[in-house]
């Protein structure tokens, strides 16, 4: 028997309130299924199962707050065991020689609502999958079986939509591009959210006051512990802006891209080259990131800020990246973030956007070691081949932890980033 515990979704998360169960006892769940919504200081977050099985007991009632690490759900029959050979005969050794783990997690500081599993009953150890394996997991076979045209697949990826959820109208009931567009239109035509009074100051699932507290704690810790250094440079964006304008001119609005997608992709690629800035620093030692997962700062209407991760930015196409950004912004503002998005950013990118300031000096989000800030894109006088010309330009800054790197390395990183932005077609 296995169990699922209240996950840690960030260094600053201590506990979570279980807002809603999305599964019930007896349900079969697979790895990656969303099982519950947990409200945290950062908002409502969907919790994924990292192992499969049949839901046994819900250990926590809706509305209850439990600390990180507390069991919230028990599994009756782990998928791994079920998938193995026939159950061993009575009296035979358990499939794995390890003794059963202590049923109650050490970190639990108060009893949970439900009793722990009875002691003394041998339980097969359920290997918990490594996070990397989760990330690399291939799409489920069901998803592969979706019959969809190439055009529909591309469009669905661009829109961040799930093909399996669509009904096909094409040859042999294949999902075709028109089906994707129709579905997206229907999604958009969903009833307008209730107009909220401005004084409510609270988007669905978010407690802005709580969030402000969390930001305060994290930033105070950062300034206290991390010896920051800052470097910044101005980057000519003519090539990127021209390319973007040309690309977008040929596309309908729903397929257009924002400059932000180029910034993210260029940053991801530059981080591959300067990996020292992509990772964490804890307990006196630096640990490289297990991928380039960029925490993307998204402002919340009415105040507040959240930086969920877009995973493997370096491996996503610009279109895919754009779809993730769009999806992320929609979910931050409408609620519904997933747990893995908050747990593992390896670096943060913050952009104050087209209405913002020229240069941004960020504060690193611990235990990360760097934050890259993009200012506003402005028309700037630059010297090009010895003559002054007016060009779109952006000021890019790096705030980094001096314990892992120095200013020289920071400068090299910015130079790489700047040169990547000169060849937008290769991003």
């Amino acid at each position: 028997m296995g169990e699922i515990r209240m996950p840690s979704l960030g260094a600053d998360m201590e506990s979570g309130r279980l807002a809603e169960w999305l599964v019930a006892p007896g349900d079969r769940i697979a790895r990656g299924d969303v099982i519950a919504v947990v409200e945290t200081q950062k908002g409502a977050i969907e919790i994924e199962a990292f192992e499969g099985g049949t839901v046994g007991r819900l250990e926590v009632a809706e509305g209850q707050t439990v600390p990180v690490g507390a069991p919230i759900l028990s599994l009756e029959e782990p998928a791994a065991a079920a998938a193995a050979a026939a159950p061993p005969p009575s009296g035979a050794p358990a499939p794995t020689p390890e003794p059963a783990p202590a049923p109650a997690p050490e970190r639990v500081s108060q009893p949970t609502a439900a009793p722990p599993a009875p002691e003394g009953v041998p339980q097969p150890a359920v290997p918990s999958p490594a996070p990397a394996a989760v990330e690399a997991a291939p799409p489920s076979r069901a998803a592969e079986r979706v019959r969809a045209s190439p055009a529909a697949r591309r469009l669905a990826q661009r829109f961040g939509m799930d093909l399996a959820a669509l009904t096909g109208s094409g040859p042999e009931d294949a999902v075709v591009s028109a089906d994707v567009r129709r579905a997206r239109e229907a999604e958009r035509q969903a009833p307008t959210p209730e107009r909220r009074a401005p004084e409510a100051g609270r988007a669905r699932g978010l407690d802005l006051a709580e969030m402000r507290k969390a930001i305060a704690a994290a930033m105070a810790r950062s300034k206290r512990e991390i010896p920051h250094f800052y470097v910044a440079t101005q980057v000519d964006l003519k090539a990127a802006a021209d390319w973007l304008a040309e690309t977008n001119a040929a596309r309908p609005p729903d397929e257009r891209m924002l400059m932000g997608a180029l910034f993210l992709k260029a940053t991801a690629k530059a981080l591959l080259e300067h990996s020292v800035f992509n990772g964490t620093f804890e307990d006196g030692s630096a640990r490289p990131g297990d991928g380039v997962h960029i925490g993307t700062a998204v402002a919340i209407r009415g105040g507040g800020l959240i930086a969920p991760a877009i995973h493997d930015c370096d491996r996503l196409s610009l279109d895919a990246l754009m779809a993730r950004m769009r999806d992320l912004v929609a979910r931050v503002r409408g609620g519904g973030l997933r747990s893995s998005e908050l747990t593992d950013p390896t670096v943060t990118v913050s952009s104050l956007g087209d209405r913002g300031v020229e240069t941004l000096f960020g504060i690193i989000y611990p235990p990360q070691v760097a934050l890259i800030g993009f200012g506003r894109v402005t028309e700037t006088v630059l010297a090009v081949e010895g003559a002054p010309v007016v060009r779109p330009a952006v000021s890019i800054s790096l705030a980094a932890d001096h314990r892992v790197a120095d200013g020289h390395r920071g400068g090299l990183f910015l130079r790489t980033l700047a040169s990547l932005l000169q060849e937008p077609q290769s991003l």
Partner: protein
């Protein structure tokens, strides 16, 4: 297809409301820059353009974006293009 100014205004107001639900639309200056009036960022703006395209059938090229900066400008532009 030709749409009345009223139809266009109502679609525009509805979509703006979807993007910034907390803003009282009757309180904003119809000749002020919408981005300031409603605290709209580039993603919000893109979503607005997508919505206008899908609901009104008007694809607004990027180079025309400066012609839709205020509520009144946007209505004028859309009426002319519908």
């Amino acid at each position: 297809m030709s749409l009345s100014e009223e139809q266009i205004r109502s679609v525009l107001v509805e979509e703006l409301g979807r993007i910034a639900p907390e803003v009282e639309l009757d309180t904003i200056d119809p000749d002020g820059d919408l981005r300031d009036e409603m605290d709209i960022d580039s993603m919000d703006h893109l979503n607005l353009m997508i919505a206008l395209h899908q609901r009104l059938g008007i694809a607004i090229p990027e180079i025309d974006y400066p012609k839709l900066l205020t509520l009144n400008d946007a209505i004028r532009y859309l009426v002319a293009r519908s």
